[in-house]
């Protein structure tokens, strides 16, 4: 017998908070685990006309893909799902197709990320087609 949710999608990016979200998803012991990462479009760089550096999107995504593959093999279970676009929208669109029974994400991603990406967690909570479990980063001095 497995845990309370058959298919869990853990939303991850490179932060301790989202590691914790992934651990929580594993602890709930789903039959199927999707490890979902949305690589944002590189819209934040200034264009070539201003002499700015424009990264090659392919290069950016291949790095994200490699990072996700490493995370999946380190986790030892689950399937990686790489999405591109505006992260919260991309993740919700994916969920509407894939229909996980639960999505797990970090409760917040730090001040900088919140300003850049808006409230990922809040958006997810209001738009996901399934219950959303939001996991806080550990408190300083937490032993658990």
């Amino acid at each position: 017998m497995s845990g309370p949710y058959r298919h869990i999608a853990a939303c991850v990016e490179d932060s301790p908070a989202s590691r914790r979200a992934l651990q929580e998803a594993i602890r709930l012991d789903p039959e199927r685990l999707s490890i979902v990462h949305a690589a944002p479009w590189p819209l934040l760089y200034s264009g070539g006309g201003l002499g700015g550096w424009v990264p090659d999107p392919e290069d950016l995504f291949s790095r994200s893909r490699q990072w996700l593959e490493d995370l999946v093999s380190e986790t030892g279970r689950g399937e990686g799902v790489l999405l591109t676009g505006y992260p919260q929208v991309a993740v919700v669109e994916w969920a509407e197709e894939a229909r996980p029974d639960l999505m797990v994400a970090a409760a917040h991603r730090g001040v900088v990320a919140r300003v850049l990406l808006g409230g990922f967690a809040t958006y997810l909570a209001h738009h996901a087609p399934c219950p959303v479990l939001l996991v806080r980063p550990p408190f300083a001095g937490d032993t658990g």
């Binding site: 709930l28 409760a107 917040h108 409230g119 809040t122 909570a125 209001h126 087609p129 219950p131 959303v132």
Partner: protein, 147 residues
């Protein structure tokens, strides 16, 4: 597979919306997986506008009768799922977070309100919870479409 329940103490936040009924059902389902404690908590906001009487005394309209009605309603909800009713007072999200921190809650369950008006009025509730809760928060939407 562990035999211990994933969350020994589950606390579900309720108000009188349909969405919070869905949250209670989900909390009860998780609670049923193993031994543990389920509390159903509602926060009573302080009466916003006391009517000032002569000599500076304040009169709160229907104070006691209102609290009694809320208590009975909350007992009803908790009773349906075999949980304990907890009525706290104060700014709702903050009062519940405080209570959860002091009572060893392992999982908070709350409804996400969907309507535009509701989201403006109450959506900040889930937002506050997410940012301040001492434990993971499970946000449940009123499931209109899902099977």
């Amino acid at each position: 597979m562990t035999t211990a329940p994933p969350y020994p103490h589950i606390c579900c936040c309720v108000d009188d919306s349909d969405a919070s009924r869905t949250a209670v059902r989900e909390a009860a389902r998780l609670r049923a997986l193993g031994p543990g404690r389920l509390t159903v908590v509602h926060a009573l906001e302080p009466m916003p506008m006391p009517v000032l009487m002569a000599e500076g005394a304040a009169w709160y309209p229907e104070d006691e009768a209102y609290v009694e009605r809320v208590r009975a309603w909350l007992d009803g909800i908790a009773g349906e799922v075999g949980g304990e009713a907890v009525l706290v007072e104060g700014y709702p999200a903050a009062a519940i977070v405080d209570w959860a921190a002091q009572n060893g809650v392992d999982l908070l369950v709350a409804a996400a309100h969907r309507g535009r008006v509701e989201r403006v009025l109450l959506g900040s509730f889930a937002g506050f919870l997410i940012r301040h809760a001492p434990c993971p928060v499970l946000v449940v939407r009123d499931r209109e479409a899902s099977a």
